[in-house]
């Protein structure tokens, strides 16, 4: 962990600023998630669900690869950046109708796989038949922070389709065109909330966007929800995976998970957050609320 650095390496690292933004890798983001879910699923108490979501992620990658690279309006991007606003705001989903055919494709492909249990197959058919205006309203609730209006059954598939489009949009950006926001807790690309944070091998912590998979830098030992630096603690399961921890804050009594690449280099924000449900239950019992949802698991509307 600690090693002696040659002097030229010190000079090089000082000259390089900490990368503020890591845009998603269009060629691999969902495949990596699927591979991680495949790895976590065996012997897991939620094995079936993790396998289903692995199939979702694999299908997302197929659909993303088939998507033509989007054309971005550079004047619009520049205006958003000038006002320190997200450059591809999630609230603009009505202007990006392409996500609806992606949803149809996702459901068709998933339904075509034979091992699907009946409930899931029925649901996929149901998602297919939702009229466009109802879909728009659902997405308003999903992306607009109104989880009480979300239908938890269809939400993971809607989010999956939206993710495909927003990853395509985000991957087409030049990182220099994205301005840092005044609020550190939301995605500078699309304005969504992060699903979890990851401490990369170099020791820097990044928040991972639940929608567009962009990652932005936030200093360690700080609440990603309320910005407090006092009363931060890390909770993890004894004899469990100590690379997945809940970062709890005594100021706002909210937590968000933090994944340590140093402990397991394959950690993936959405997959590891989903697979560590036991930690959610325990930290919830200890009196903390979850800061934001996992895009692939929405709680009951009346929670």
């Amino acid at each position: 962990m600690q090693r002696v650095l040659p002097s030229d390496e010190i000079a090089r690292s000082v000259a390089q600023p900490i990368p503020r933004l890591r845009l998603p890798d269009r060629a691999a983001v969902f495949d990596r998630r699927a591979a991680r879910l495949d790895r976590l699923a065996p012997d897991h108490a939620l094995s079936g669900y993790l396998q289903l979501m692995a199939d979702v992620a694999r299908t997302q990658q197929v659909l993303l690869s088939a998507l033509p690279p989007p054309v971005l309006d550079s004047a619009e991007l520049a205006r958003a950046a000038a006002h320190r606003m997200p450059v591809l705001p999630a609230g603009d989903h009505r202007r990006h109708r392409e996500w609806q055919p992606i949803l149809a494709g996702l459901c068709e492909r998933l339904a075509a796989q034979e091992h699907r249990p009946g409930t899931v197959a029925d649901l996929l058919r149901r998602v297919h038949q939702i009229p466009a205006p109802v879909l728009d309203e659902q997405v308003d609730a999903l992306l607009g922070g109104r989880p009480e209006h979300v239908d938890p059954a269809t939400a993971p598939f809607l989010m999956a389709a939206l993710q495909v489009l927003w990853v395509a949009l985000a991957a087409a950006l030049d990182p220099a065109a994205v301005a840092p926001l005044d609020v550190p807790g939301v995605c500078p690309v699309c304005g969504s909330l992060p699903v979890a944070s990851i401490v990369r091998g170099d020791g820097h912590r990044y928040l991972h966007c639940a929608l567009c998979a962009s990652e932005w830098h936030l200093v360690r030992a700080k609440c990603s929800h309320c910005d407090a630096v006092d009363g931060i603690a890390y909770r993890f399961i004894e004899h469990g995976n100590d690379g997945v921890r809940a970062e709890t804050c005594e100021q706002c009594r909210v937590y968000r998970k933090i994944l340590l690449q140093e402990k397991d280099q394959h950690v993936e924000a959405v997959a590891d957050d989903l697979a560590s449900l036991a930690l959610d239950v325990l930290v919830g019992e200890a009196g903390y609320h979850r800061a934001s949802v996992n895009p692939l698991l929405w709680p009951a509307a009346e929670g």
Partner: protein, 196 residues
């Protein structure tokens, strides 16, 4: 987000999981909830601080394990450079890298001690006694050795028989106060964070 409510924040419990995506898609949360009962939650902290050694003032992260609220005493288990700190960017010099040994050192000084002239024994004294004694000796030395004028008869008001080293982990404000206390006494032999 004008209608933001407390419902934004939620807990994943048996009740919220039954009606969640998981339950509605036909996956019973029961086994996952049963499994939780055998798990115990541990607590760790990361505390940001400044290396106490030199005036470069490198940022450090101190890792501790243990729950202050329970009987187990919190203990520092690891110290490393703070990767976010602009001064050292996660690195530490060999001295700083050995900070953990200083924290846990058996011979670490945690209270003032006094050794009388000619004695070979250290005796523990209170902070009040220590500060009184330091103040008295400083005054005695200053009264004896203060230089008001130099050989040419110019007023210099200097006191160079006593020196002072101030802390490395000091803020701008502490640096300012250090100067305000030390300079009017005529002390020239001193170093502190304000120089860096």
């Amino acid at each position: 987000m004008t209608d933001m409510t407390r419902r934004q924040f939620f807990k994943l419990t048996g009740a919220t999981l039954v009606g969640s995506s998981l339950g509605l898609l036909g996956f019973a949360p029961g086994p996952a909830l049963a499994e939780v009962r055998q798990f115990k939650l541990l607590r760790a902290t990361e505390t940001r601080n400044t290396c106490p050694y030199c005036s470069v003032a490198c940022g450090i992260l101190m890792y501790s394990l243990g729950d202050k609220a329970k009987n187990a005493e919190a203990s520092i288990v690891h110290i490393e450079g703070d990767p976010d700190h602009p001064v050292n960017r996660g690195t530490l010099c060999p001295k700083g890298a050995g900070l953990l040994d200083m924290v846990h050192s058996k011979s670490r000084l945690t209270y003032p001690e006094y050794r009388a002239p000619g004695s070979d024994k250290w005796q523990r004294i209170s902070w009040n006694d220590a500060l009184d004694r330091i103040a008295r000796l400083l005054k005695a030395d200053r009264d004896a050795n203060f230089v008001e004028k130099n050989a040419d008869g110019l007023t210099v008001n200097r006191w160079i028989t006593t020196g002072m080293l101030a802390a490395s982990g000091a803020t701008n404000e502490v640096g300012y106060l250090t100067h305000k206390v030390v300079r009017p006494l005529g002390l020239l032999v001193f170093d502190n964070q304000a120089r860096v």
